[in-house]
Symmetry: none
Subunit: 219 residues, 4 copies
């Protein structure tokens, strides 16, 4: 790691970056070493100089993606002191990252036969490193008495799921006119207050979005 040439490191990064995009488009099974070579600008042999396997590449791509997301989320969490604003910043960061880089770990995981062990470990790491910060924010909210006692892990999972839903749908339907802020608002509001009528949405600094003016209206 430490004694890597600069060129060697650059080549590795080129491979990982190209692999990321290819996996994102075609999945793991659909990733071709030939295409990867072409996309990364290296010869096929050279790739095997830097990585053991296709498997190895996949694992490294996932790890790199996790790190990137973690970094962004951590940065977002540190952007404010109030837990609600932290949450909003995290949600925004996560949503944007998913749209731009499309972290693969939750999407094309199933098709990895023969590396369930490593993947499982990666997912645990993901859970720990990525979901933990969000969980901590919620726990802070709980500590401040503004969040009712809930199962934090499940809540975080739910929150992330909501976001994924939008990312996926809009990725597939190619509707580019996504109102990002609207989605973030909706998600946060729903997460914080649910849909019940009498959830007294008192004194929050949330935009009083009535939920009407969002995204694509199909009347």
């Amino acid at each position: 790691m430490a004694d890597e040439t600069n060129e060697a490191f650059a080549s590795k990064q080129a491979v990982l970056e190209a692999a990321h995009h290819l996996i994102r488009q075609h999945g793991y099974a659909g990733l071709s070493m030939r295409e990867l070579a072409r996309a990364s600008g290296l010869a096929k042999g050279t790739i095997y100089h830097h990585f053991q396997d296709k498997r190895d590449i996949y694992l490294h791509v996932l790890e790199r993606d996790i790190q990137i997301v973690c970094q962004h989320v951590a940065t977002a969490a540190a952007s404010s002191e109030h837990w609600k604003e932290q949450l909003r910043a995290i949600v925004r960061a996560y949503f944007q990252l998913q749209r731009e880089r499309c972290v693969l770990i939750l999407a094309s995981l199933r098709e990895a036969v023969g590396m369930e062990q490593q993947l499982c470990q990666l997912v645990r790491q993901y859970r720990k490193e990525l979901l933990k910060p969000i969980a901590q924010v919620l726990e802070r909210g709980m500590a401040q008495g503004e969040v009712r006692p809930i199962h934090v892990e499940m809540a975080v999972l739910s929150l992330v799921g909501m976001l994924h839903s939008f990312v996926l749908h809009h990725m597939i339907l190619q509707e580019l006119e996504v109102d990002e802020e609207a989605i973030i608002d909706h998600t946060l509001q729903l997460f914080l207050y649910g849909i019940a009528q009498n959830s007294t949405s008192n004194g929050t600094n949330l935009p009083a979005s009535s939920g009407q003016s969002v995204v694509d209206q199909h009347p």
Copy 2:
């Protein structure tokens, strides 16, 4: 179409069923026609007698899955008259179906190159036929004044996303001891009331799950 022999129909169904499981495990690109032949009990050639392509098979599998889910969700929606109970029934049906049959359409969609058109259409159909019933339930709740005015479509998408999150995580981590009811309770409660402290969880017939005793506690 209508004048299909019974045997021909049975063969087709066998292929679709086997394909469903294989795609679920290995994704679309990872689906091997050789394995499909072995799993379905037919010869390779016979499969091509019933379907045009691997693509064709994939599309039919997706369509079939959508129909199955729609059917179950519709049945669930008809099981009660109160919108909250309808919602709970739908959520349970959807969650169970996802775990058992694992509808593929939202999971392994990206790796489908060359059939974006058809997939897009399928997703729209999925949206219409599957998400509509859920939306109607919410609208009924709104009509009864028990649901605040929200963007219904987005809410439904969010709800479904929460469920997917759990399905995915537990599928990957292979933690079989999932407390299904706990997840359903959590999801419904979160969806209905959010996490805010002062969301007065008034006289609903929801199990007064304090959120503490759920799932697997990792201390």
Copy 3:
């Protein structure tokens, strides 16, 4: 043969006609029974009801083609009493047939592995039945003293070869504006002047060239 149903005969003919065109386009190896079924309007199984093999079909197509050509050539030969006019009629008939029906026997013959025996026999039949009439015309010309003593079979072969050359070239280059009459005129003239008695065969048995008068000209 004699106790064939009308429908059966029609089916057979349909297969042969379709096969003719397909073989002409794709050759013998490129003839697909599936396509043949589709083109002939019969089911695959039905074809095997009428013919033993793909091989069998090919052989029948060739035989049928030979018969058709023979018939036309015979008719042409009977159209006149003068051998030169007979020859012209034959040449025209042969040329037109080749362009329209494109007799296969001399074109895609090589790729028939495993039926060399039968093909050889067919070619002999072709030679006998088709080239014989032309030979007879030449022999009549010789008998009348208007054709010098040549090797008749070779001459016929040469004549046919000239025609094929044009057919092939124009078929490939797709130059549709072929002046058919011009080609026939050219061929007949070249052929006739070559064999005419009174082509003053000035005692040279060929390359006894009068090389004296060679003046090196720039092209």
Copy 4:
């Protein structure tokens, strides 16, 4: 192109040579990549390392054949100064080449679906590079007053056609006892007397087509 390894070049040549023979025997559609691999001594994958397609291989084989024939014909044309002897040398070279290497371009061309464009171009090249030298010889004869004014291109086409006829027939009938010289003599004699100036075109009822106004004139 120019910076090819020797080994790579050797492999390519091996493939082309093997492909030539296989295509000659079985035609294009009948050429099996598996057999080609076995015949060329390379693995299937290796062939695809050097060539894009089966199509690509075919095209290269044709091009190579054309070059070989052109080379031989050019050499033959340069062997003498007298046009008749040049013609004889060319005819002999062409005939021998056809029997030994069996240039494919005029034989198995029809079964090439999807590459009509390239084939058409190849045929034009063939025409230009191969038929041109022969045409020039004839033109020299005309310039010397020993050849009557004929349509040169058509004459060349006819000459080549005569030769093909013999090649084909003897190839099919496997009659190995071909008297090569006899065929060459016959062909030259037939052709020469056909075009000789002093073939007193007396009282024939042939249309006095001067041979000028034919087909497509490429001046």
